[in-house]
Every structure is written in C-alpha cells, then in structure tokens.
C-alpha cells in the first residue's frame, strides 16, 4: 500500500449542522500532509472519523488500508494521536500518562521517551492537574512520538507551545519523516504547515477546496509587502511574480511569489525605501482572497465588501 489515508465523499452531520460535506482527503505514505483550515472548518471531525471515534454518515474512509470504524483497534496499534485540546487525569503524573498511553498502543521506546522529555523540558513527576496547557500538550506529544508507529495524526499539536518548543517539535517531526513515518498535521496557521509539510489540503466549511504539493500551492505562499518609497515604482509593477500591485502617495502594496521575492526586494531597494513591512498571508487572508470567504460566521453573504476591504486594511 502506498496510500496512508484515503477519504472520499465523507459526510457527517450533528443534528442540523453539516460538519463535513463530501470531504475528500488523500495522504500518501511517508509524506507530511498539512491539513489546513480555519477554526470550525471540520478538521477535528475528520480526524475523529479517521480514528473511528465518530461514524461517518456516508462516504468512504480508509486508513492504512483498513476501515477506521471497524478495524479501529488493529489500526490504532500502528498510529499515534495528539489531540488538539489535551486533558490529563488530574491525579496521574505526566510520566504515568505517557507510559500508559504508550503501553495501551503496544509499547514505547524508552530511549526516545527519555530524549523527548529532555528536549521538551518536561517534568514527568508533576500531577496532571498542575500542568499548564503547553505542558499538557507536551505530554501528549511525547506519548505519541515515543512510540514506533507508521502514522502520526496530530490535531493542532503545537497550540500552547512557545516558539522554542515549536522548533523542538519540528526537529522531531523531521526525524519521524526520515524514518518513513506518515504525518497528518492539522493547523490553522499557514506558516507552520509551510515549514513542515510536503503536501497540503485546505478545508473550508466541511469540504477540501484545494489539495496538492507546496509547489502547486505557491500562490498561497506569496509574501505581502508594504513599503514607503521616495521614487517612482517604475518596473516593480510589471515584474514576474508580483501581484495585486497598488500605489498611492508614495506607498506601495503588493504580493510577491516566494521564488521572486529576491528580485522584488532588489528592485525595491533602488527606490529609496523609508519603511518596509513584509508578512506572509494569514489563513484568513487566503480564505478571503481565494475562496471569497467572509470573516466571522457563515451566513451573511457580503463577500464583495469584505473581499475589498479585508486585506487592504492590513
């Protein structure tokens, strides 16, 4: 088998709410797949279906070649899961929780456990109720990464971790990839997914709206540049890879593809830059720009006014 996760046309409703609306998701073995979407798009619901914790209303889902609902126990020996919101047993220590979850999965690597605890700077002797959110998250990450598994499913695993720990996390994910582990990483932060993932699926209102390699998603990784310049913008506007160019009173705003950033900055530096702000597009901006989404909640259909003012307001 070369396909780790294969989901086709899955629908899941909770009462009146249609959480997943014919979702397709395809993850090859050995790849790190980013599962990107705003809060409430259906990421956790998809993951819970893959774990056999929820039953899909219709559609096909297959995980490591098995049925996630029927073969749950068998499949779970081969995967590890980090929930998005970790709640630990108040009177068990972090170390006990790590061992317990590892053993229930079929054992963990004591050497890697020790190394993970050290690198994540986790005190395993504290009781669950005394950990902060970030430390509870670390317990779940250590428990998952200390096992030898084929597939890691992680639901916003680094929410609550500080940047230093996020780097440690990225190192271990890279290590897992080198060992051939498949990773499904859900996130609502584009930059995080960009750093780690080979391929990305973008989910919006219960449907995957775009899926592919990072290269194919290049347009998503455009950097937004705002600068005050003293000279005329001249050739900048017509350069390759520069998009959405706007200019008023000595201020220019444009988006530039990652591969053309170097050239654009060179050009810009000739123009007497007085101030410069550059940032990657936020997920919200992407959703606005590419899928005509509205900020805030679903029903109000004022796509156009938002689409026009939203990004410009930055």
């Amino acid at each position: 088998m070369t396909t780790a996760i294969d989901v086709t046309g899955v629908v899941k409703t909770f009462g009146q709410t249609r959480a997943l609306n014919g979702l397709n998701l395809h993850v090859e073995q050995g790849e790190i797949h980013g599962f990107l979407g705003p809060n409430g798009a259906g990421k956790s619901t998809t993951i819970r279906i893959l774990l056999g914790l929820l039953k899909a209303d219709s559609g096909e889902a297959s995980l490591l070649g098995g049925d996630p609902w029927r073969d749950a126990v068998h499949l779970h020996r081969r995967l590890a899961y980090v929930p998005g919101d970790v709640d630990l047993w108040p009177n068990l220590t972090g170390g006990e929780a790590i061992d317990l979850l590892g053993r229930l999965r079929g054992g963990l690597d004591p050497d890697r456990r020790r190394r993970l605890i050290e690198r994540f700077d986790l005190d395993p002797t504290k009781k669950g109720r005394t950990y902060s959110k970030g430390n509870r998250q670390k317990v779940a990450i250590v428990a998952a990464l200390a096992s030898n598994v084929e597939l890691l499913i992680m639901d916003e695993p680094t929410a609550g971790l500080d940047p230093l720990m996020e780097t440690v996390f990225q190192d271990f994910i890279a290590e897992a990839k080198a060992e051939g582990t498949t990773v499904l990483l859900s996130s609502h932060i584009l930059a995080q997914v960009e750093k780690l993932c080979d391929t990305i699926s973008i989910i919006r209102q219960g449907e995957v709206v775009q899926s592919g390699s990072l290269e194919e998603m290049r347009h998503l990784t455009r950097t937004t540049v705002q600068a005050e310049i003293s000279e005329a913008a001249g050739a900048l506007e017509s350069m390759d890879g520069v998009h959405d160019f706007r200019q008023e009173d000595g201020r220019v705003t444009f988006a530039v593809d990652g591969s053309h950033l170097d050239g654009a900055v060179r050009q810009l530096s000739q123009l007497g830059v007085r101030s410069l702000v550059a940032h990657p597009p936020t997920l919200e901006e992407l959703m606005l720009r590419h899928y005509g989404d509205e900020l805030g909640n679903g029903e109000s259909a004022h796509v156009d006014p938002h689409g026009a003012t939203g990004p410009g307001a930055n």
Binding site: R48, L51, G52, L53, L54, K55, A72, V73, H74, H76, R77, L79, A80, Y81, P83, D85, V86, D87, L88, W89, P90, N91, L92, T93, G95, E96, A97, I98, D99, L100, L101, R103, L104, R105, G106, P124, T125, K126, K127, R129, T130, A140, A143, I153
Partner: protein, 551 residues
C-alpha cells in the same frame, strides 16, 4: 485603578472588605438561571413528599387505636435508631405528633443532601471545570461566588421549608397546628442551611467536587449515626448532632419550642466564618492541601484500561467501603442495647408479629437494607466516571490507542460491579463484626455478611440501568439515580410514609430476600442478575454504535 472597571453599584461599597463581594448579585441571578428547573423540582418535590406522607397518615390510621399501635412500633429500637425517639410519649398520639415524630428526621436528611449537592454544584464543581476562573477574572470579588451560592442554596432550603410549613399548616389534619408546622418546616430549612455551610467548609479543603461533597456527606452520615446511638442509648450523644437539635423543637407536641432552632443558626454562622477564613488562605482552583509530585514512570499495574480504571476509582471505592463499614458498625454495636430495650416493652411481642424471626434478625434486616441501598450510590458513581472521562476528552486519547470502545467501557464497568459488591459486603462485615462483639455471638457476623451479599444482584441492576443509559441515551444518565432514591424513599422508608406495599415491587430492592429473617430465595436473585446482564449488554452495544462525545 480597579474602580474604573467597577459597576456603579459596586463603587458605593466601601473599599477594602467590600471588594471581595462585588458581583454577588450577578452570580445569584446566573445560578438561578442555571438551576431554573432543578431548584423548583427540589422545592416542590420536598413539599409534595412531606405533605403526601401527612395525608396518607390521615387515611391509613384514622382511629386513635391505630396510631397507638404505630406509636408502640415506633418504640422499637430499630425504629428509634432510624427516625428518633417519640419526644412526647405521654401525650395522645395525634396525626400531627406522629408526623413530627416519624418523618422529621428523614426529611431533614433529604434537606441536608439538597444543601450539600446544590452548594458543591455551584462552587467546587465550577472551579474544577475551570469555569470559575473565567468568571472570577471578570469583575467579581473573591468571596462573591461562595456568597452567592450560599444565598441561593440557603434561600432554596428556607423557601422549601416555608412551603412545607404552609402546606402542612393548612392541611387541617388533627393535631397539626400552625405554630408546629412552622417549627417543622423551618427546622427542615435550617438543616438544609447548616449542611450547605458544612459543604462550604469542605469545599475549601479539597480540590475535587467529588471529594468535597463526599466529605460533607460523611459529616451528614456521622450526624445521623451519632444521634441514632444517642437515641437508642438515651444519652447525650444525640445532642452532638444538628439533626437532633432541629427535632428538639418537638413540633406538634404540647411543649413545642423554638429555641433549638437558634443553635442551628449559630452553627451555620460559625461555619460560614470558618469557610471564609479557609478560603482566604487558598488560590482559585487549589485546595488547602498542596499537590505532591509523583512517579516519573508508570507502575506495571498501569498498562491496561482496567489498570487505569482501578487507579482512577480506587480511592473513591475504598472511601465508600470504609464509610459503610463504620456506618454499619454503629448499628451493629447497638444490637444488644436494642435487644434490652425490646425486652422492656415485651407487650409488643404479642402485638407485633415477627413471623418466627428473632428480634436481632429484624435488626440485621433493617440496617443491612439501608447499607444495601447506600451501596448503589458508589456503583452509579463508578459508571458516571465513563461519562465524565468521555466529555472531558480523556477517553479520546485512550480510544485512539489499541483499546476498543467495549474494552474501555468494560474496565470502568468492572470497577462498578466488583467495587459495589465489595462495598456492600465490607459494609455488612463492619455491621456484623460490631454486632458479634456487642452481642457476644459470632453467628451475627455470618448472618450480616450473607444479608449484605444478597443485595449484590439488586445493586447490579442499578449498574445495569446506568450502563444502558450511558450507551443508549447518555444525556439521561442521571436517571439511574432513580434506583437508590426510589429504594430509599419507597422500599426502605415506604412503610413509615404510608406507601403502598405494591410499590415495592417496582424496585430491585423490593425483591431482595430479607436474610436472616426470611429464607434464602434464589429465583429473584437470578432474575435480577439476568436483568442486570441484559441492561449492561444493551448499554455496551449502544456505546459501540454511537459517536464519542467530546468538547
């Protein structure tokens, strides 16, 4: 600087101590909104149950001679231990006196339960869930939540007491006076108030809602048991119990009096001050006992779902077993004192048919029966653990490992079944060993343990109902409490409150053979075991088919 964010009304409160109470009014409205169904149900339920008992007395015992029979029966030590002494033995036994004598203590215990459960629900349970933190970070004084909860819960108890007073007072039943009705109702209300304040103290001591209500309920159990010993032995021990104080107003007797109610008011005030002092010493979410560090690795016991379930539930099960053993020992130790008392009123022997059973046997049946109903409580709590693990999101990581839904549920279920069986047998053992020592007859031990063991299938029916609800309609899990509540009010106390005998058949506890007074009948035990098994299997099947709920 904080004044800037305060509401106008708060600003008028003098600086300093007043800040601690800012927002109390808002919290009161919030709690009333949250319990807009629960509180009226408590109040109306208590009023209806009490008034219903009074009118059933009027129907069932119309003649003075009928009531004198009951008065004689109520002198039996088992009855004295259960409902208290007849505080006006020389007066004619009117409906009113009978009602005050027989029902007050039992209804008082229910008021106390309400006080504890409602108070913990609005304080410790909120803090444990982390919601209190959210609320307290807004403009809310340190003592506001506790104060608001006390006002709401004490108000509920007093309103319920007042309604009982008015409906009893208006009944026009013979011997019932308006003054007596107010003593009766307000005594009940103040019992609710006192135990709400007991809970206010225990809530400061431990971090867990379960622990805090457990401690407060242990105080209630001790208060009930101590006065049993005092009443049967006719000594000062009764006066150690606030339940007895309230009863000392002697409602519907000729010398009824109000001053004992003052004792309750003073005790409540003292406990409120103690709770306030303790609360000043601790942080939000923390208890007075600091958390300790633990092991960095898990012991080999903690490698299966069952190991986890045992680890999570063992302290609760042990506490219940010890509690029931101690509670049982209180009554076991009274067996010879009760026997003596019975000899003094030997006239009863002819009048009250014992169907061949000895007095000691009836004593055992009576109090092991109470332990049997109580043992269903930890059984249901153990099943509720499944639900709380599920909704807190702690089941999810376990079920994402190589553990099936059924195996996970079965682990807590095993604890519920084995734990409750252990609890009732150990409770029977505590009763039996005390009876054996007190009565100098080792035979009491075997009788008591056997009498306790036959309760196991009935308790398992309660487990079965809880599991079935959990698997099929998890939101309705609370309905499982109907079994111990119904068992206590209808089967155990039903005779006192004039409930029809046929109502016993609806409860599993109505089908438990009354060892050692009756012969052992296997058929009802087997039928109950089968019912329990069917309910459990239905619940597990339902759980396997349904979605896991999570936050």
């Amino acid at each position: 600087m904080s004044t800037a964010t305060m509401t106008p009304e708060a600003r008028t409160i003098p600086a300093g101590r007043g800040h601690a109470f800012v927002g109390t009014g808002t919290m009161i409205r919030f709690m009333l909104r949250r319990d807009r169904i629960r509180i009226p149900v408590w109040i109306l339920g208590l009023t209806a149950y009490t008034t219903g008992a009074l009118s059933s007395y009027e129907q069932n015992y119309p003649e003075a001679s009928d009531r004198e029979t009951i008065a004689d029966m109520a002198d039996l030590p088992a009855m004295v231990a259960m409902v208290g002494n007849n505080y006006a033995p020389d007066e004619p036994y009117t409906h009113g006196l009978m009602f005050g004598h027989v029902t007050f203590l039992i209804v008082g215990v229910i008021f106390a339960l309400m006080g504890v459960l409602l108070f913990i629900r609005h304080t410790r349970a909120e803090e444990e869930a982390g919601r209190a933190e959210l609320i307290r970070s807004s403009v809310l004084g340190r003592h506001a939540q506790t104060t608001a909860a006390l006002i709401v819960v004490c108000g509920t108890a007093l309103v319920a007491g007042l309604l009982v007073s008015m409906s009893v007072g208006a009944s026009g039943v013979d011997g019932v006076t308006m003054g007596g009705a107010y003593l009766y109702g307000m005594g009940l209300g103040l019992i609710g108030v006192v135990f709400a304040t007991v809970a206010a103290v225990t809530a400061q001591i431990t971090e867990y809602a379960r622990g805090a209500s457990g401690m407060a309920l242990a105080v209630l159990g001790a208060a009930y048991a101590v006065r049993s010993v005092g009443d049967v032995g006719e000594n000062f021990l009764s006066w150690l119990s606030p339940l007895h104080w309230a009863r000392e107003t002697r409602p519907f007797s000729d010398d009824q009096r109000a001053w004992p109610l003052l004792l309750l008011v003073v005790l409540a005030a003292v406990l409120i001050v103690v709770a306030g002092r303790l609360s000043d010493k601790r942080d939000v979410g923390a208890g007075l006992r600091p958390p300790r560090l633990g092991s960095a690795t898990a012991s080999p016991l903690l490698s299966s779902p069952l190991g986890l379930a045992v680890r999570l539930q063992r302290s609760s099960v042990i506490a219940w077993a010890v509690g029931l053993a101690v509670f049982g020992a209180f009554y076991g130790a009274l067996i010879s004192a009760a026997d003596e008392m019975f000899d003094q009123i030997s006239a009863l022997e002819d009048m009250w048919a014992f169907e061949g059973a000895s007095f000691a046997d009836r004593w055992i049946v009576s109090f092991i029966g109470m332990l049997g109903v109580l043992a269903a409580v930890p059984a249901i709590l153990a099943v509720q653990r499944l639900r709380s693990e599920e909704t807190a999101g702690r089941a999810e990581p376990v079920l994402a490992t190589a553990v099936s839904q059924t195996r996970w549920a079965a682990s807590h279920l095993t604890v519920a079944l084995a734990g409750s069986a252990g609890v009732i047998v150990i409770g029977g053992f505590g009763f039996g060993i005390a009876a054996a020592i007190d009565g100098r007859d080792i035979g009491y031990l075997g009788d008591s343990v056997a009498a306790a063991a036959v309760f196991i299938p009935a308790i398992w029916v309660a487990v079965g109902l809880a599991v079935a609800l959990y698997g099929l309609v998890p939101r309705a899990l609370g309905l499982a409490w109907i079994i111990p509540v119904y068992g206590f009010l209808v089967v155990y106390l039903g005779d006192l409150f004039g409930v029809d005998q046929s109502a016993h058949n609806l409860s599993p506890f109505g089908h438990v053979p009354e060892l050692p007074a009756e012969d052992l009948e296997i058929a009802p035990l087997l039928i109950m075991a089968v019912i329990a098994a069917v309910l459990i299997l239905a619940g597990l099947a339902g759980f396997r088919r349904r979605d896991l709920h999570s936050t």
